[in-house]
Symmetry: C2
Subunit: 471 residues, 2 copies
């Protein structure tokens, strides 16, 4: 008799596999208000690790954390014309507060460029106050018609960076630095996702930006996920809010700005990039639990051993959990840790005690074999780094295998609808081609230069459009 699958197989129904995995691995639930989510402890632990890794990189890039209000006067949103046009349909509006109708309704922040600029306009006086480099970790709300947990939720958690600079060049270089040193570095080296870095076409830009840099990851079904964006805002918000500085030679100038964000959507990307039919596979550098030490049975000697081994591995600097819940059957617990994607499982039963051995299961490559307990602390760190590298390699191989070079819009649509990415010259596609793609639910994910770098302009010669269906 075949074993019933733990989750719907990916090949049968990818969206259902995704939802099954989120339920079974206890990552998140739907909240009571449509489109909201409850992030359960294990899902939140993944997000906390993302925050830690990202926060260190953001601080290394010179930005400081701060906090701006959730509530924004409705009038602020309307000051930047494109910005309000982009966000108006998604706003949640508070009309009553403290038992009264409000004179001016307030908007729940969908993003904070406007309220941040109201502060920047006060804080920035002279060139000495620049660059001003700020980040905040916060919740934002964008009313979502077709919600999907982690990917599109009415409320989500994110970081949003906001900076002001004295010159166009400086702002531009900072947006690119965040794109590269914070986002790309984190996504490749921690999330193990081989993202493509590029620039958005005009129609896909952030509302109010003059340029949007993006990182696109390929998911297990060949669709794309926008994993983060870094925007050059030019002087659009500075002019709308009067954010000016006195230059070294005594002139009043508007600042040049950037903003950049990444969110709990990355948890969805993690699931869809690395998950398989047994559940999640968490990259070891990210994993909140890198190694779980399981007691196969509840003998006192076994319990003492798993705790001792757990302590030794923790002392070796690994993030360890000891599973001694032996009133739950061993098989069920093993399946549960597999679902949760913990990179290494050390299983110790009564028969292992004498020989000083354990079974060591590796989640990323799969497979299980005996190992000497005393060797684990020396063995595991290198093994986990191998598994980290394997995930990135698999991500790159998937992307390469499912990306085709095409020369017409029709071929691009065909490749994207079949579940893959297509690359074709932007000169062939153009804005008219984008309209044709849209008819098939296909978009330009980004433009990349011939040599794979990020182009300086939409129409730079040799630009290639990466085209796909996206989440």
């Amino acid at each position: 008799m075949a074993k019933a699958p733990v989750v719907t197989p990916r090949a049968d129904d990818f969206p259902r596999w995704y939802q099954d995995l989120i339920n079974k691995a206890e990552l998140a639930d739907n909240g009571p208000v449509r489109g909201t989510m409850v992030i359960r402890p294990y899902g939140y632990a993944l997000w906390e690790r993302m925050q830690q890794e990202m926060d260190a990189r953001i601080k290394a890039a010179g930005a400081s954390n701060a906090y701006f209000p959730l509530f924004i006067p409705q009038s602020y949103l309307t000051r930047e014309a494109e910005h309000v046009e982009g966000f108006a349909p998604e706003l949640a509006v508070v009309t009553r507060g403290g038992g009264k109708e409000l004179e001016e309704p307030v908007v729940v922040r969908p993003t904070s460029e406007t309220v941040v600029n109201a502060s920047f306009a006060k804080w920035v006086q002279s060139y000495r106050d620049l660059p001003l480099l700020i980040n905040q970790w916060a919740n934002v709300v964008r009313w979502e018609m077709r919600p999907r947990v982690f990917l599109r939720t009415t409320e989500f958690l994110w970081q949003e960076g906001h900076t002001a600079h004295a010159t166009y060049e400086e702002a531009r270089e900072y947006a690119a630095r965040i794109h590269r040193e914070v986002y790309a570095d984190f996504m490749a080296n921690v999330l193990g996702i081989d993202v493509v870095l590029g620039r958005k076409t005009a129609s896909e830009r952030f509302a109010g930006a003059v340029n949007t840099l993006t990182l696109e990851g390929m998911m297990g079904d060949g669709k794309a996920l926008q994993m983060g964006t870094s925007h050059e805002l030019g002087q659009n918000f500075a002019k709308a809010f009067g954010t000016r500085y006195l230059s070294g030679d005594g002139r009043e100038e508007y600042v040049w700005q950037t903003s950049w964000g990444s969110s709990t959507r990355m948890v969805g990307g993690l699931i869809m990039a690395h998950g398989d039919d047994s559940g999640l596979r968490v990259p070891p550098r990210l994993a909140p639990v890198q190694v779980v030490v399981l007691a196969v049975k509840g003998d006192e000697a076994v319990l003492a051993k798993v705790r001792e081994v757990g302590d030794r591995l923790a002392a070796a600097g690994l993030r360890v959990r000891v599973d001694d819940r032996t009133d739950t059957p061993f098989g069920r617990r093993a399946v549960d840790w597999e679902l949760k994607g913990v990179p290494a499982r050390v299983e110790i039963g009564p028969r292992d005690l004498e020989g000083g051995t354990a079974m060591l299961a590796r989640r990323v490559p799969g497979g299980k074999e005996p190992a000497a307990v005393d060797a684990l602390a020396a063995l595991l760190p290198g093994m986990l780094e191998e598994d980290q590298a394997l995930l990135l390699r698999q991500s790159r191989e998937l992307r390469e295998a499912r990306t085709v070079e095409v020369s017409s819009v029709g071929e691009a649509v065909e490749a994207a609808v079949a579940g893959g990415w297509a690359r074709l010259p932007w000169a062939v596609l153009g804005e008219e081609g984008e309209v044709r793609l849209a008819e098939h639910g296909v978009t330009v994910r980004c433009l990349v230069a011939e040599d794979g770098s990020v182009p300086d302009a939409d129409d730079a010669p040799g630009n290639v459009a990466v085209v796909a269906r996206a989440y």
Copy 2:
């Protein structure tokens, strides 16, 4: 000519001193929507340090972080009668979302007991799922009529713990454990505030709780600040939301619950407990910057030296900032670090280089004297611990000096109005006495037992009421 004071002296106008300090030390601004605040980078750095220290203690108490939605269906709030009565006047209500009027308005969370119980009711099946110990770091909204930055703001940041237990005793012990091991430990040993632990009288309890434990700190003007609370919720929310478990002997039982919170209000408490007429004084264990190394002048040799000293002190495990902004006058920078309350200032000028000395200024006790640069890494850690202890001692001495034992309600009012705390037997005061206190803006901050411990009941024999005006 007398030097103009940097901030309004505390003795002249305490509330104005508080507001001046917040402005000048760049801790926070008012937000554009009345009652909201912008937490500036240095203010937020204080909060981040509080979060780190608290989060470690919360996790050590066995709780896991998770995240529940900002938006709560209005109907949820009404399920627990006392809860809705307590919070209804403070609610912010979203009536429009995604461009449409909502069928059921949603409330912006003022606290999360209701939405958490909706999840707990799904997650808890049997006694094996208990205890369920959850914490979240989040923003909450309570419409505030008389806002004051950090102390009473329409939106504030906090942590809120929510737990479910199989028995009354277990829940009760857990609420007491958080009170003691998380809050009291953090406030005394990190914030350096000699808080009084007690229980609230019935009229001061959290809306929906059967018992509220509190920690009250004395501020520099002799008023009290509630620094954190831990509640026993009994089965009130469990019954309202059907949060039940199957016991070991097969019966369906309602869970017993706790909730507990502390917020950005603690930043206000930190300011008012330790600040003086030169600004903030930050306890070294909390301080985001423990030592600032200042270049008195911009000579290359001086700049090289401050960077070298900064690196050495950082390598010794101290949180260090190097201030080499020599285009700003030295005196202004020194005043600024004093305002920000950085515990130690190491000042290096051209004349110090030869002798290998520096001026070492200590913010907590005050004063400044020369020190050998090579000795600083060995000297500073012990010095900072002395300063930490001094702040706690000063906090205790202030409280003792300004607390009087009284035997009538009249005397209690007099002491509180004069700017101090009064202690009198609860048997003398009682609920009728509380009404009389309220006429003078005075409240019972908490009840303590004769031996200083936390009483098990309001009317336990020997209970003493601690009475004061409060923020």
